[in-house]
């Protein structure tokens, strides 16, 4: 148990710095953003306490906000997704249920399941993020374009990371 907490802590820091040092500078065509830190939040173990999930989401969001100068926006979006995550996990339970201490990843439940699990959550996260940033719906079309392209971009990077490190974080 202790070991897994340490590993979670380390990967928290790795994801945070991956986001603010590298992916912050890689915006495609001015409209596709990659917020890979959502990958960390989605890959927390299935049995994590929902309160913990929200606090971890809040912490991660707030750190990202400090680097992006957008206080509260990433935190709000992350907390929202972390609240919805367990409901969605219960909805999309694979055949035979989740194993003890399972991580909702490709390695455990396959690519198709993971896409069904992760895509809507990433979409909701990005929608919350960009609409809060725009301060409402006055830039609706432009913001929606950003949400869709960013969802594709983020999902791609999250998938690549999982194929590169398939065994990681399955404790």
């Amino acid at each position: 148990m202790n070991r897994s907490i340490i590993i979670q802590g380390i990967s928290f820091v790795i994801y945070l710095f991956l986001q603010v040092l590298i992916l912050k500078n890689s915006v495609l065509f001015g409209s596709a953003f990659c917020f890979v830190y959502i990958g960390y939040l989605l890959l927390l173990p299935v049995e994590t306490n929902p309160l913990w999930l929200m606090f971890i989401g809040f912490g991660m969001g707030l750190f990202i906000d400090m680097f992006y100068d957008s206080v509260g926006i990433h935190a709000a979006a992350s907390v929202g997704v972390m609240y919805l995550r367990n409901f969605w996990l219960a909805r999309v339970t694979p055949q035979g249920g989740y194993d003890n201490g399972a991580v909702p990843s490709i390695a455990a439940d396959g690519l198709q399941w993971f896409m069904i699990y992760a895509t809507p959550l990433v979409f909701i996260h990005h929608a919350l993020l960009f609409f809060i940033e725009a301060g409402g719906f006055q830039y609706f079309g432009f913001t929606l374009v950003k949400v869709i392209f960013s969802t594709l971009y983020t999902m791609l990077v999250v998938l690549i990371i999982q194929y590169l490190f398939p065994g990681e974080r399955r404790i």
């Binding site: 906000d65 400090m66 926006i73 929202g80 725009a134």
Partner: protein, 278 residues
């Protein structure tokens, strides 16, 4: 009473969610409305040093361009200095002038630590802070043109609201015709901003120079903003819809100059008195 606690306990996830979201909303509103009220921004020294490391790495890719830009600016400044020297020799009018008017603006140079261009509200972090005399509201320019206004300062860093921010407006002047309007970004292309409130009877041309007007007192008069790139066919308003190409490429911004306006307080308090007298 016990049942209330039981109720809250049963729905503790939902209540925690609500509480955290309310806190986030409060942070967002605080950040939008007040200047310098928040700790969670990139003027925080740890965040700024990480961002500085990142910017240092990025800078290597634009060293050549920055160099040539600085050299060009040097020549231009030297030329101007020489002209002023000549003028002073000829007329010597400045001798009797009020020294506070001559020293109306102070210039402080700073290095860009963090910069963004892709969001609707973009900010820039500079490596000068309150210890160097920087205060919220000061103007920031670069060798090529306007950059923005100081939003928050910490001891050694400050955050600038970039011109590429849908919330910021800059009073601007068309050099050829003398008409003035307002510069505001529309959130789309980081190369272009909109020039608003130029009446239809003015005939702008592509290539016209747009400069700051100096009316707000924040920016000195005559700082380059850009040139008119496109005159959009007028919709049914009484103003032109003009696209202005910014003279400063914000992607390559690595040095900036902060302007301290020494007479800003005097100007503001004078203008404040006008509605009171009516």
């Amino acid at each position: 009473m016990g049942r209330i606690f039981l109720f809250i306990y049963q729905y503790r996830a939902f209540f925690t969610f609500l509480l955290l979201e309310l806190f986030c909303t409060w942070l967002v509103i605080l950040n939008n409305r007040y200047q310098g009220a928040s700790f969670f921004n990139s003027a925080n020294s740890f965040v700024a040093s990480v961002n500085g490391f990142s910017q240092n790495t990025r800078e290597y890719f634009s060293l050549r361009e920055t160099n040539s830009m600085l050299a060009e600016e040097n020549t231009a400044l030297r030329k101007k200095l020489e002209q002023l020297n000549q003028l002073a020799l000829k007329t010597d009018t400045l001798a009797g002038a009020d020294s506070t008017v001559i020293k109306r603006f102070d210039f402080i140079s700073a290095k860009v630590v963090n910069n963004s261009i892709d969001r609707l509200t973009n900010f820039i972090t500079l490596n000068r802070g309150s210890e160097d005399g920087i205060k919220p509201g000061m103007a920031v320019i670069s060798s090529a043109g306007v950059v923005g206004k100081i939003k928050i300062t910490s001891e050694h860093f400050s955050v600038v609201t970039s011109v590429l921010n849908v919330d910021i407006m800059v009073s601007a002047l068309m050099k050829r015709t003398g008409y003035f309007g307002t510069i505001q970004w529309d959130g789309h292309d980081p190369d272009y901003v909109k020039l608003k409130f130029i009446p239809l009877h003015v005939k702008p041309q592509v290539g016209d120079t747009i400069m700051t007007s100096g009316y707000s007192g924040v920016f000195p008069e005559g700082i380059m903003v850009g040139t008119i790139a496109k005159i959009n066919p007028g919709r049914e308003t009484s103003f032109h819809d003009l696209d202005v190409k910014l003279s400063q490429d914000f992607r390559k911004l690595s040095y900036a100059t902060i302007i301290r306006s020494n007479l800003l307080n005097e100007l503001d308090s004078l203008e404040m008195k006008v509605p009171n007298m009516q």
